[in-house]
């Protein structure tokens, strides 16, 4: 019973960790650029397919395919930011939503055309499969690996945002674009790089997530609500908020599906409503 509970908690944390990696970029772009990007999941999908392609066609090992997923999604992010997204920064939220949902459908159609509608397989290396025995509990090795990756990314990201000049430029631009530009910060460049970073992390999450979330052309649509929930509950423009939100949502989702399977998928929505009533600005939202 207790073992079960801890197992569910563990799975929930691992699942939430994945949601966090994928969503953190969305949180930053929504906080920084005030842009509602429903197509964020498409960048995760780019990363996922990049992993699959280099593994199955080029024989690249799984761990080495992850940085490739990051780079592929970041590159897609830069190209789309420069060519399309930039034009809509000053557009209304409705325009942004319509534009980005259009991108979602285009990404679904394009992926189906090139790769077919089926689920993509991922071959995890031997050392990431199976279970490890910790304190009398059986914990999935891959899930432990996911949690470790998220810890590393959170530390690195916090260092980047809190300790480097680029991080200070991001924070200044989020706080006040006009003042930042007026003092010599190239806000456009900050936007592009941040967008690329967020897309890259989504791509990394897409690659890491194949084994847990699956990967097929409908991925961006299937998980869109989860990414938006993380940002809505966590608050845009911070790291801590989305991290806690992703973990809470991950745990509630896994626990809901395990303990009350009849209403399983519904549990996270209840969690979201409660959290938003208690924290209307998000868990760590910026007060504007």
């Amino acid at each position: 019973m207790l073992g079960n509970f801890i197992g569910v908690l563990f799975d929930g944390v691992a699942y939430g960790s994945l949601l966090f990696i994928i969503s953190i970029g969305l949180s930053v772009t929504m906080g920084l650029m005030n842009f509602v990007n429903l197509a964020h999941g498409a960048f995760a999908m780019v990363g996922g397919y990049a992993c699959v392609v280099v593994m199955t066609r080029l024989g690249v090992p799984f761990l080495a395919s992850l940085p490739i997923a990051f780079v592929a999604a970041a590159a897609a992010g830069i190209v789309l930011e420069r060519s399309l997204y930039r034009r809509l920064y000053r557009a209304t939220h409705l325009d942004q939503v319509l534009f980005s949902i259009g991108l979602v459908f285009m990404s679904i159609a394009a992926t189906t055309y090139f790769f077919g509608p089926q689920q993509q397989p991922v071959q995890l290396p031997e050392f990431l499969r199976g279970q490890v025995h910790v304190l009398g509990l059986d914990l999935g090795t891959y899930r432990l690996f996911l949690i470790a990756v998220v810890i590393i990314i959170t530390v690195a990201l916090t260092w980047l945002i809190e300790r480097t000049r680029f991080g200070a430029e991001i924070r200044a631009s989020v706080d006040n674009q006009q003042a930042s530009a007026g003092l010599g910060i190239n806000v456009y460049r900050v936007f592009s790089l941040t967008f690329a970073l967020g897309s890259g992390l989504a791509g990394l999450g897409g690659g890491l997530g194949i084994d847990v979330l699956g990967l097929d052309p409908t991925f961006p649509l299937k998980y869109m609500v989860y990414f938006l929930l993380v940002v809505a509950v966590g608050g845009a423009g911070t790291i801590k908020g989305p991290l806690f939100a992703a973990l809470i949502l991950g745990i509630f989702d896994v626990a809901g599906k395990y303990y009350v399977p009849q209403v399983g998928a519904f549990v996270i929505y209840v969690a979201m409503v409660v959290l938003l009533i208690v924290f209307p600005h998000g868990l760590a939202g910026r007060r504007t």
């Binding site: 000049r165 200070a168 430029e169 924070r171 200044a172 989020v174 706080d175 006040n176 006009q178 003042a179 930042s180 530009a181 007026g182 003092l183 010599g184 910060i185 190239n186 806000v187 456009y188 910026r286």
Partner: protein
């Protein structure tokens, strides 16, 4: 002195509204200019136009030998315009020290050490966030932040606004030092006209978006009745 700023036939505003009409402005390197006029006549708009933050309809701006009329805002800052906005625009998520380091452009006389010597208060508060400062400290930081870009022209938009008299005195001492040192040119917008006139060499007065008077600051300081007519003296 070589010419630093030349703005000709500036017509500018926001969106569809035109606030400034046919303004001309000249400044030599190291020269100081008071920009006076009643509330709402367009002083801030003129500074924003120089920074590329208002909508320029007509005219051209040449700064330090380079035409900057079409330059994006951050490139104007790189070219040497040091902006101290009227609203101060602190960054709530940056510490005092980060305010200074994030905009720092080395290659000039200003660095953290010199700033802290000039504003010891900022050094005491270096770990505080931008929104945890008093009004006077915010203004010091806004000025210090602009200095860290090593400007050729400092744009001071009502630096004394809303400050207690004792803080005004303290701040005036420092501003007086840096302006009179002549390391860079200065445009000062100020409601306290006398303060601005005492600081500066030249003066222009705006009314409803047009230049209505040009003279040396000394002249206007002596001519009390003209000063009263042009600007309601605080």
């Amino acid at each position: 002195m070589p010419e630093l700023l030349r703005a000709d036939g500036i017509t500018a505003g926001y969106g569809d509204s035109i606030i400034l009409e046919d303004i001309a402005l000249n400044l030599a390197a190291g020269e100081s200019l008071a920009l006076l006029g009643r509330n709402g006549v367009g002083k801030t708009t003129l500074l924003l136009t120089l920074m590329g933050l208002a909508r320029l309809r007509q005219g051209r701006i040449v700064f330090n030998g380079e035409e900057i009329t079409q330059l994006p805002t951050h490139r104007r800052a790189h070219a040497g315009l040091g902006w101290v906005p009227q609203e101060r625009f602190m960054f709530p998520s940056l510490t005092v020290e980060e305010h200074l380091s994030v905009v720092a452009r080395p290659g000039g006389p200003w660095n953290l050490g010199r700033i802290y010597k000039m504003f010891p208060r900022l050094e005491e508060r270096r770990r505080n966030l931008g929104n945890q400062l008093s009004g006077g400290e915010q203004q010091m930081l806004a000025i210090a932040r602009a200095l860290m870009t090593n400007p050729r022209l400092l744009l001071l938009d009502e630096p004394m606004e809303g400050l207690a008299p004792i803080i005004v005195q303290e701040l005036m001492k420092v501003i007086g030092q840096i302006v009179r040192a002549g390391e860079f040119a200065v445009i000062v917008v100020e409601q306290h006209a006398r303060l601005a006139l005492e600081l500066t060499q030249q003066t222009i007065v705006l009314d409803r978006g047009r230049v209505v008077h040009r003279c040396t600051s000394e002249e206007l300081l002596r001519d009390r009745s003209t000063l009263d007519r042009l600007v309601s003296v605080a």
